[in-house]
């Protein structure tokens, strides 16, 4: 178990380092640089060159990379050229916003998607199944920003159930939650659609298995068969993709944040890319990648606990 965990940790670090490295070089491969961006269109070539030298951007890329790694190892991810703040602090500030949105989105998605998928499978071929699967199709095929805009129009402007803005400067907990609800529902809907479809097909497959027939032949009540004996099997593939949907929901969160004008890691990285704020992008990607890898690793461990055939050795 100890060796297993150690190996997982090593694997995790390699993944994160790989991600950050790729982003480091990609950033420098795209045209434009922070110096030109900061000084604007009318800057002279000399002033740009001077600023580049000051920022260390005139040196070869591999040398910049070595410097970055050396500093990163001491916990220094550089300074945002736009705000002058340590990049890592900037990222830390946006984490609670993103975490609140992604986590509540996933929780809504699982709480809605799994029961709906099970219901759909148990009643497959009926009107209820058709209805749920139609809803899921909508959730999957309509882009999340479109769903977001429609929701704002209907639920914020027409019915005024929720505020149109996805964030508030108020520190009141309930106000914050009220602002979070609509973005979380929109994000949750698209993920729920995916989870519902997956749960349905997994459940249908399990319900056709021999051991379900055996349980029926032994008189185990249908309720126990579906919600205990079959569900645990059906949840294995669902669990396996929740990690993937988490990464995916972080991606969708960028769009949701944009539609609802909500701060967060996604919109921060997006802005930083436009500003060629290398340090901020790198710090953001580092945190994002760590989060995704961490969630996936913990899910793997839960997975091994649900499915006894996955041995930890």
């Amino acid at each position: 178990m100890l060796r297993y965990t150690a190996r997982r940790l090593l694997l995790m670090s390699i993944t994160v380092i790989g991600m950050v490295t790729v982003v480091f070089f990609l950033l420098r491969a795209i045209p434009g640089d922070p110096a030109s961006y900061m000084l604007g269109d009318y800057a002279t070539e000399e002033s740009v060159a001077a600023l580049k030298a000051e920022l260390g951007l005139d040196r070869p890329v591999w040398e910049q990379y070595l410097g970055f790694v050396k500093r990163a190892l001491t916990g220094d991810l550089g300074t945002s050229v736009v705000t002058g703040q340590p990049a890592f602090d900037e990222v830390l500030e946006s984490i609670p916003w993103s975490a609140a949105l992604s986590v509540s989105g996933i929780v809504i998605a699982v709480l809605a998607g799994v029961p709906l998928g099970v219901m759909s499978a148990v009643r497959h071929g009926t009107f209820a199944d058709l209805f749920i699967m139609f809803g899921a199709l909508v959730g999957i095929s309509f882009p999340v920003f479109w769903v977001g805009l429609v929701c704002i129009l209907l639920l914020a402007h027409e019915v005024r159930l929720f505020p149109a803005l996805g964030a508030s400067s108020s520190t009141d907990f309930f106000t914050q939650v009220h602002h979070l609800m609509l973005p979380a529902l929109v994000l949750g809907f698209s993920v729920a659609a995916y989870i519902a479809r997956l749960t349905r097909s997994a459940m249908l497959e399990v319900l056709g298995q021999d051991f379900v027939r055996v349980a029926r032949a032994m008189g185990v009540p249908e309720r126990r068969i579906v919600y205990r004996l079959a569900l645990r099997n059906a949840l294995i593939p669902v669990l396996a993709v929740i990690g993937v949907t988490f990464a995916w929901s972080l991606g969708s969160a960028i769009l949701v944040e944009a539609v609802f004008s909500r701060p967060g890691l996604g919109s921060m990285i997006l802005k930083a890319v436009f500003a060629r704020d290398y340090q901020l992008v790198q710090a953001g990607v580092f945190v994002l990648a760590s989060a995704v890898v961490l969630v996936n690793t913990s899910l793997d461990i839960v997975y091994g606990w649900v499915d006894p055939r996955v041995s930890v050795s």
């Binding site: 298995q209 021999d210 051991f211 027939r213 055996v214 349980a215 029926r216 032949a217 032994m218 008189g219 185990v220 009540p221 249908e222 126990r224 205990r228 004996l229 645990r232 099997n233 294995i236 649900v306 499915d307 006894p308 055939r309």
Partner: protein, 335 residues
């Protein structure tokens, strides 16, 4: 004959709708089974052996439907029970063991957990009492060190052990009837005999009626008291084993046994050596379903036009669905 029978089935039919029209996979099946008796059910693949007993338990997979018939368990017609009460019969009145022990157990629950699920579905036992009962039946099916095994997951057990667990599950509630559907087909030859011995032992200890569905005709003579032969969803012959297989009074049964090289050898051969194709249930001939393959029927007009009923021959213990059965005996006498 159904007096004293623990299970008597009359005119049981099951139909599957299909594009080519309704397909009758179980077609007016009747048989009876006494307490402590073993009835072997044989027939080619697809002849409706499994479907017959799924119909008895009313577990026919949709869109299939039991369309008629009586199923008397100790005299009470369970085919007339509402669906909600049927589950009390399954497992406690009639239990079934299936062919493949590798897929018959739920991979993500321990065997103890699965046994408890069955026991507690039928009794008001506390978890602790149920576990004690589970240990007791595991012991009974000769699982070594059951206290250690009960918390194992299925993948930690061999195929033979898993079949023992399934048998333990099936007998835990002391059913009146145990249906074993090809219980050894998926197992090693050496393990097969052990499982069959175990079933025979349990049958006499617990006084259950037992149905042994099998492809292996060698087993029939050794373990069964009577045999029912199925063809195209119907029972075409039933007879006591003591009457001797060679004395069969149906051409299909004769062909089946001729397809084995030697009766005194354990035969594992699939029963596909009979000339011609197994029938297409959606397109059965108007007369006898076996007619296209029958060595006796060819040319006879009534074989093509009339569907023969299962009727007594010389004794009412030996039934045949071939009106020309006497010709088989005459041929023997002549030879």
């Amino acid at each position: 004959m159904s007096d004293g029978a623990v299970l008597a089935v009359r005119d049981l039919s099951t139909v599957f709708p299909s594009e080519a029209g309704p397909v009758t996979t179980v077609d007016g099946v009747s048989f009876s089974l006494g307490a402590g008796e073993t009835l072997a059910v044989v027939g080619e693949s697809g002849s409706g052996k499994t479907m017959t007993f799924l119909s008895v338990l009313r577990l026919v997979p949709p869109p299939g439907r039991v369309t008629g018939g009586e199923v008397l368990l100790e005299g009470a017609d369970i085919a007339a029970l509402p669906a909600s009460e049927m589950r009390w019969i399954r497992g406690a009145g009639i239990a079934m063991v299936f062919q493949d022990p590798l897929t018959a157990l739920n991979p993500v629950f321990t065997i103890g957990d699965q046994m408890l699920e069955v026991i507690r579905a039928h009794t008001a036992m506390s978890p602790r009492q149920a576990r004690a009962l589970a240990l007791e039946v595991l012991e009974r099916v000769h699982i070594p060190a059951p206290a250690k095994r009960i918390d194992d997951y299925p993948h930690q057990l061999s195929g033979g052990m898993r079949q023992r667990v399934l048998i333990a599950m099936a007998i835990a509630l002391r059913p009146k009837v145990l249906i074993a559907d090809e219980p050894t087909t998926a197992l090693d030859v050496t393990v097969q005999a052990q499982i069959l011995e175990l079933l025979a032992e349990l049958r006499s200890e617990l006084g259950m009626g037992m149905v042994l569905i099998t492809h292996d005709l060698g087993l029939v003579a050794r373990y069964a008291d009577r045999v029912a032969v199925m063809y195209a969803g119907r029972v075409v012959e039933t007879s006591p084993i003591a009457q001797g297989f060679g004395r069969s009074r149906h051409p299909y049964t004769r062909s089946l046994f001729r397809s084995i090289p030697r009766l005194d050898l354990p035969a594992d051969q699939p029963l596909t050596v009979i000339a011609g194709q197994p029938p297409d249930l959606a397109r059965l001939p108007a007369g006898c379903a076996f007619e296209p393959r029958c060595f006796l029927g060819n040319g006879r007009e009534d074989c093509r036009s009339e569907r023969p009923a299962l009727l007594p021959t010389t004794s009412d213990r030996h039934l045949s669905a071939c009106p020309h059965w006497r010709a088989l005996i005459d041929a023997e006498a002549g030879a």
